[in-house]
Every structure is written in structure tokens, then in C-alpha cells.
Amino acid sequence: MTVARFWREIPQRYNMVGTKCETCGRVFFPPRSVCPHCRRNGKIVEYKCSGKGKVLTFSILNSASEQYAEMKPYVLAIVELEEGSRVTTQVICEPDEVFIGMPVKSVFRVLDREGSDGIIHYGTKFVPDVV
């Protein structure tokens, strides 16, 4: 990833800043600049997601690309946020802990590192939301 692209996406990566259509109330994460439902009648504003959600489905990755190899086996899930948007994300827990419907919350983690001398990409992952 280029430095410029990472920098441009910091608000959504760090703080889950998406958008909301004030016409229909739908929330979009990652952010959309046009509401696909209301189109020209839509009114898009910035919206910070709560970071709470639940696991819609998941997969256990035992074979990973080089930058994620040290984490394997790890849980990759589609998380449905409270606001309705769905994100593909790592859920940090043991593979035998995850289940469909598991409540999760966002945490701040390293997403990947560009070798030993490049940029460190920080962002959001999820952990089980247990009391």
C-alpha cells in the first residue's frame, strides 16, 4: 500500500469513520460518497461507527500471505456492525472460541508492517465483547 493511500484512509482505519445518508438513515462503512438507495436525493454526512457488532460468519486461516503468516491460525470474519454495515476483519481470539452471532467490539492494532524499515499500518480489528 502506498503511504498516501494509508494516510488518506486513517480516519476509517483508526476510528471507523464512515458516512450516513440523512435521507434514509443508512450508515456506510467503509464510507460511500453517494447513497445507492436515495441517489441524488440522498444527503451524505460523516458518521463515526460505535465499533460494536456481531460475527455474521467466519473462517479459520491456516495458510496466510507473508505479512499475516506469523498470526496463523487466525480468525477472519465478516462482522455486522450495530449500524448495519458489514466489514471483513480479523477477530482476535482462539479459533475454537469464535461462533456465529458472537458479540464483538473494535480494538486498535497493527494491521501489517512494510518490512522492518517501512510504514506500520495501524487500524481496527475486533475482539470478543465479553463482560
Binding site: N15, V110, I120
Partner: protein
């Protein structure tokens, strides 16, 4: 009065037992555990570092009390394991808590006392009226070379303090410091692991500076150790703070709550901030807390703190994890997996 507006702590979930490290290096586990008074230490996950600890601890602080992040005009992160040699950790924290761009920021380094140095800077900025809130963080993923004495205690974690004048949960009555050029521990540029002067780090390092700052505080305030409900000292192991406390006249009961090193290890810049967080988790209005940090190199910062009614009615401590609750949730690693976590295996 300047004081702590809110606070937050972060400790990663992984641990390694000291006896497991001793097993690998053929050392006498009972002797080491007994000598250090440490039974296990916290280990970071692969995707955690000082910046992620700092962000999580600060977010926990902000979850406990409603503070407008745009009123935070300074962020200082004290650590000796900043992820970049050049590029501040503090800006990542500022961005992740929504305090940027109208703020100042810098990273501090003073071995294990950079976090308390940040609190002093924040006190100055707030007391002078330059800003409403400043954040000071102490966090580390401490390094210890494989097989070195430091490896038995070098741990991971951090705590964050929002400093301000507005209804603090704890007033900081006074701070003072004791500092000298004492080469008891160091890491040169480009080196992976620090070196130390062995036993030299005791008397001319830790004890001289801790007792120097602590005695100065007692003299400045006209107090005696029995005037305090709690005391917390830098804890590179459990032996040093217990001995230092006894030298000064503090009782084992006074230091018990803040002495978290036996189950946490030495979190370097995070050590005293986390010990103080453990005390604030338990404190009630009127409690008086004596704090003395220590950073090799060397120096100590002392603080005299009084807990206020605001700890009951201005902050919801249950909104952030307590130090005790995070210490209780431990997942144990063997040495091989621990070595992977710490990046000690180069492939």
C-alpha cells in the same frame, strides 16, 4: 487544582511463567522467582506494540469520563520501545482519540520513568492555563536479550492519564524529582536489546534516586509515611520496591495494592502508571497516595496525590477494565511461542 481527570490501563492477554524462561536457559527457577518476587510476565500479541497499548489505555480513560477530545491540546507518550526510531507515537494516539490537529505532541524517553515525566509536563501545561487537558501515557513492550537477567521481567503494558484542573478525581498536591547522570542501564542506537550494570543498578541507581525523591517529597510536604493510605514505587522486580519502601518507613500494607509486578513483570515506562491505576481502581475519596517512579540513567519523579469525591460521581470506573480484571485474564505461552511473539526468532 491540577490533577487526574480520568485514567485507563492496558495489559495484553498473554503471559509467560518465569519458571518456563528459567527452564529454557537451565537456570534455577525457584531461585530466580524467589529473588525477583516475580512469577509471570505479560507478553504482547503479534499485532500489539507501544502505540496500540497507548491508544487502548487512553480510549479506556475517555470511556470512563466524558472528555471532549478536541479540548486535549497535548499528548505525551513515554516509552523506551517506541515503534519508530523517527516518527512520533504520540501523533498516532492523538489521531486515534480524535484530538488532532489542534494539539502539540511528543515522545518521551527516560528508561522506566518517561511516563511520569509526561505527567509532570502535562501538569505544567494545564497549571499555566495553556490548555484545559493534556494526556500523559507510559507504555512499553520491554526488551530483554534472550538469556539475560532482564528477560525474566521485561514485560508489556501501559496506562494513560488525562491531566486537567476541572474536577479532578485525584488532586496532585506536589511533584518533585531527583536526577543525576548514572549509567546503570542503556541501549545504544540500532541495538535490539539494552545492557545494564548488573548490581550497580541497585544502590547508586534505584535506591539513591527513589529515596532521594521520596525524602524530598516528605520534606516539601511536611508529611511522614504513615500519612499516606497507599504508596507505589517503580517495580523492576518485587524486591526493590519492597526494600525501598521499608527504607523510607512505608509498610507492606501501604504498597500492596500498587505492587502488581509479581503477576505483570516490569512494564518499564508503564510500571508506575499501571501501579497507580491499580490503586485508583480501589481508592475512595480522601485517600492519599505517595508515588515515586525510577528511570535508569537516572532519575525519580515523586507525586503526592489526594483522591477526591469526583472519583465516585464524575467518573464511571466500570467503563474501563480494571488492572486486576486484566491481570486475571491470562493466556499462557511456552518459551518458543513467546519468542515468536517478541520477534526473537529471525527468519
Amino acid at each position: 487544582m491540577v490533577g487526574i481527570i480520568t485514567y485507563g490501563a492496558y495489559i495484553p492477554r498473554y503471559r509467560i511463567k518465569i519458571e518456563e524462561i528459567a527452564r529454557v536457559w537451565g537456570a534455577n527457577a525457584a531461585e530466580i522467582t524467589g529473588g525477583l518476587g516475580v512469577i509471570e510476565k505479560a507478553v504482547p500479541d503479534y499485532d500489539e506494540n507501544t502505540a496500540t497499548f497507548a491508544v487502548e489505555a487512553t480510549r479506556s480513560a475517555l470511556a470512563r469520563r466524558s472528555v471532549d477530545p478536541t479540548e486535549i491540546k497535548a499528548v505525551y507518550v513515554g516509552s523506551e520501545s517506541h515503534p519508530y526510531a523517527v516518527k512520533p507515537t504520540a501523533v498516532t494516539v492523538g489521531e486515534a482519540i480524535g484530538a488532532t490537529p489542534v494539539m502539540t505532541a511528543a515522545d518521551y524517553e527516560f528508561a522506566c520513568k518517561a511516563g511520569t515525566a509526561g505527567i509532570q509536563t502535562a501538569m505544567g501545561l494545564v497549571s499555566s492555563g495553556m490548555m484545559k487537558y493534556a494526556v500523559a501515557i507510559g507504555a512499553d513492550t520491554a526488551q530483554g536479550a534472550p538469556g539475560d537477567a532482564l528477560e525474566y521481567t521485561a514485560a508489556a503494558g501501559g496506562a494513560a492519564y488525562v491531566i486537567g484542573n476541572d474536577d479532578p478525581i485525584a488532586v496532585i498536591n506536589h511533584t518533585c524529582s531527583f536526577t543525576s547522570d548514572t549509567p546503570d542501564f542503556w541501549r545504544r542506537e540500532g541495538e535490539d536489546y539494552p545492557r545494564h550494570g548488573g548490581r550497580f543498578s541497585g544502590d547508586p541507581g534505584y535506591f539513591k534516586h527513589v529515596t532521594g525523591a521520596a525524602k524530598m517529597m516528605l520534606a516539601d510536604m511536611g508529611t511522614k509515611p504513615s500519612d499516606y493510605d497507599y504508596a507505589v514505587f517503580h517495580q523492576p522486580n518485587a524486591t526493590f520496591p519492597q526494600k525501598g519502601a521499608a527504607m523510607l518507613g512505608f509498610t507492606p500494607e501501604q504498597i500492596k495494592t500498587g505492587l502488581i509486578v509479581p503477576r505483570l513483570g516490569n512494564t518499564y515506562s508503564g510500571a508506575v502508571p499501571l501501579g497507580l491505576a491499580a490503586i485508583l481502581d480501589a481508592a475512595k475519596p480522601g485517600d492519599r497516595i505517595f508515588v515515586t517512579s525510577y528511570g535508569s540513567g537516572a532519575g525519580s519523579d515523586a507525586f503526592d496525590i489526594t483522591v477526591t469525591d469526583a472519583i465516585l460521581n464524575k467518573i464511571d470506573r466500570s467503563k474501563g477494565p480494571s488492572v486486576e480484571s486484566t491481570l486475571a485474564k491470562a493466556k499462557y505461552l511456552d518459551y518458543a511461542v513467546y519468542a515468536r511473539h517478541k520477534g526473537k526468532i529471525k527468519v
